[in-house]
Symmetry: C2
Subunit: 127 residues, 2 copies
Amino acid sequence: MNGPNDNPYAHLERIFHEPGRLTIMTNLLGAPDGMTFTELKTACNLTDGNLSRHLKVLEEAKAVTAKKRFVKNRPQTTIFLSQEGRADFMAYLQALETVLLDAAAKAAADKPKKRAHVSLFSHLARA
Amino acid sequence: MNGPNDNPYAHLERIFHEPGRLTIMTNLLGAPDGMTFTELKTACNLTDGNLSRHLKVLEEAKAVTAKKRFVKNRPQTTIFLSQEGRADFMAYLQALETVLLDAAAKAAADKPKKRAHVSLFSHLARA
DNA sequence: ATAAAGCACTTTGCAATGCAAAGTAAAAAG
DNA sequence: CTTTTTACTTTGCATTGCAAAGTGCTTTAT
């Protein structure tokens, strides 16, 4: 859908490929009940400004949703992975896996060894 | 060496993380005798200008070396992976693997299943 | 002979964006 | 009531990915 070529590198969507956002998405993947801004900030080791900017990008791409409310008279933003975001991210991870296996195969070509690996994501992905 | 934190995301070196350069490095990994500019261009599905720019970056980082000569009265640049480049790239791939396994673990947390995977790169890496 | 086209790149220019620093707003502390 | 803290958002700059144009040489028409 992105171009005429069908190589996995074309599927490395920039939106998830950025390390900061990769971390955010991965953390959210393990948090079905969402994570607060502050939780994410510490979990991802990001500065306030950075996290804010990345979240805006992810929200605009509809990968995450934010719920803002007040807790103890303080603002609290909780971030959730959207269904669409989860599916897209899983697709990205599958592309990453392909890239990685590709590199592994090439790296192993010199020194022949049994190719022992397993698909990490295929069995988890669902539209 | 890059900061106070020791998480794998910090080791996703930008120089290799860029999709175009990831492709270049992976292709070179499988080509111990180097690849010509034109070979790389088609293999990586990059435009002339893009390839040139990425190669300059990789050269400046001493990840690859270029040998220019004339073949049949035409210029021919052959690109080789440097020893340093190979080592650094393998380290990057290991970091990527960690990130991927991390995501796999989080994705699998919801739906428990046997965690069947194998280290893709650890056994290949060497300083 | 000379114009046009091709090859193998390199350079330029701009638009996007990651990141740091500064800004905002409200509450808690001193 | 001033300062600090919390929870963010906005601004600005410096980088850089990418497309388009440029360079220099050769080969192929005309």
